[in-house]
């Protein structure tokens, strides 16, 4: 039931493209973090936030074609173009390509902008452009239009389980024979409302520096970005690795993590930190990369990308204290674990490509 990760397109605070993720892992690029100030009931509060770079979309589309797209749509579109480019896919039978995107919050700035226009001007004078983009499926719809893809098109929202929902859907489409390829993407945007919420909720209690493995303290820093995977069937030469499972449910630390290497999506939120603690006590190699991409519900999609890069390149980076690089076998597996606030757990498993002589489709 596995499928192949053929290409990765990334838009994050590290920059654009899969090379920016590699540079972030290796420490040659630091994420762009900006400080915003909000006047809350607790006084003026500064909030750090990861800021994604969306420079480069003009390489694929004229600027005028982008004018009605909001930031989240632009990030998702750029990530998708980059994934196709990275996978070297020539778009031929566009009815055999599916698009499934996910976002924890959806296009927040647009959604609340539309609500503001509704409140300020009434239903007759609310912006039609904001309305059209305020629905969650605008992301995938914009991509189908821009890429001229007319296979199945879906956007899912499942907060911290968003990455799982997207990848499980994509695997279902591929193995059900509905499509030959899927663009499976996930991400979230930062906007003033998220900044204000963070300021009000933190009340100065967070350090402003993300330390995902320090489970005893709040270190959540909101982030934004979008990661898109180009997925195909089976085990394909030239692919990053295989996506072998995407499951969700209650978690049994000892039974549910078969592989030695575990990537956890801890992101400095105290409410979920306790769920990760049992994993740290296992005799496994555990890493967390939220300090590279920032806190967002769909953020563990970036963990999947980092896992794919690790398996392809044979290196796992540890970021805490001193950055170290450890070799990982080409046929190893990595379990990417993410918890929701209610304790539900998603595990996305990647395994290295099988040797060609023993490949099974």
């Amino acid at each position: 039931m596995s499928c192949a990760i053929l290409g990765i397109g990334s838009v994050s605070a590290l920059g654009c493209g899969v090379e920016s993720l590699k540079a972030g892992l290796a420490g040659s690029v630091a994420p762009l973090i900006e400080t915003h100030k909000y006047d809350t009931v607790f006084g003026e509060t500064a909030v750090n936030a990861y800021t994604a770079s969306i420079n480069g979309l003009e390489r694929f589309l004229p600027r005028n074609a982008l004018r009605r797209m909001d930031r989240l749509s632009q990030m998702s579109l750029l990530a998708s173009f980059l994934a196709i480019e990275d996978g070297g896919l020539v778009l031929e039978d566009r009815a055999r390509i599916g698009i499934v995107f996910g976002s924890g919050y959806g296009p927040m700035q647009t959604t609340f902008g539309f609500l503001d226009s509704l409140i300020d001007h009434g239903d007759k004078l609310a912006s039609p452009t904001l309305f059209a983009n305020s629905v969650h499926n605008a992301l995938a719809a914009q991509a189908t239009i821009a890429l001229k893809i007319n296979g199945p098109c879906l956007t899912v929202t499942s907060f911290e389980q968003t990455a799982h929902s997207v990848l499980a859907t994509a695997m279902g489409w591929l193995h059900g024979g509905q499509v030959d390829y899927v663009l499976a993407g996930m991400g979230d945007e930062f906007c003033p409302l998220r900044g204000y919420s963070t300021a009000a909720l933190n009340r100065g209690g967070c350090s402003g520096v993300m330390r995902p493995l320090s489970l005893d303290r709040c270190s959540h820093v909101p982030g934004e970005g979008f990661i898109t995977f180009l997925l195909g069937k089976g085990d394909v030469d030239g692919s990053y690795c295989r996506l072998t499972a995407a499951t969700v449910g209650r978690f049994d630390a000892a039974a549910d993590l078969p592989h030695e290497q575990v990537f956890i999506a801890a992101n400095g939120i105290r409410e979920t930190a306790e769920y990760y603690r049992p994993i740290l006590s296992l005799k496994k190699s555990v890493v967390a990369y939220a300090s590279l991409y920032g806190g967002m519900p769909a953020g563990n999609g970036f963990d999947v990308a980092f896992a794919a890069l690790s398996l392809r390149d044979g290196i796992v980076y540890r970021l805490e204290d001193e950055r170290t690089a450890t070799p990982i076998a080409a046929d190893a597996g990595i379990d990417c674990v993410g918890f929701g606030v209610g304790g539900s757990c998603s595990i996305i498993t990647l395994e290295g490509r099988r040797p060609v002589s023993g490949s099974k489709q």
Binding site: R63, N64, R67, R68, H121, P128
Partner: protein
């Protein structure tokens, strides 16, 4: 600022036009098609713009084609409606 220039700035801002300044738009340049290149969704935004900023409603479709032909025709329509109030 003249009403024409005010309209140009509003159109650029509200329709999120890129790579264009108010001074680049000629008063008589067609807003749709070959001119400024606006489309039907922009037309709806323009109707909303008129109502929001000038409290003017446009309901007659045939008349709207003339009104929204250019910045000058739009400005003339606004002046005429304001004079009637």
């Amino acid at each position: 600022m003249s009403l024409e220039n005010e309209l140009k700035s509003l159109i650029i801002a509200e329709l999120k036009l890129v790579d264009i300044k108010a001074e680049d738009i000629n008063d008589d340049q067609p807003l749709f098609g070959e001119g400024l290149g606006l489309d039907s969704l922009d037309a709806v935004e323009l109707v909303v713009l008129l109502q929001r900023h000038y409290k003017i409603e446009t309901k007659d479709l045939e008349q709207s084609k003339e009104v929204f032909a250019s910045v000058r025709s739009l400005a003339n329509y606004i002046r005429a409606q304001q004079d009637r109030k």
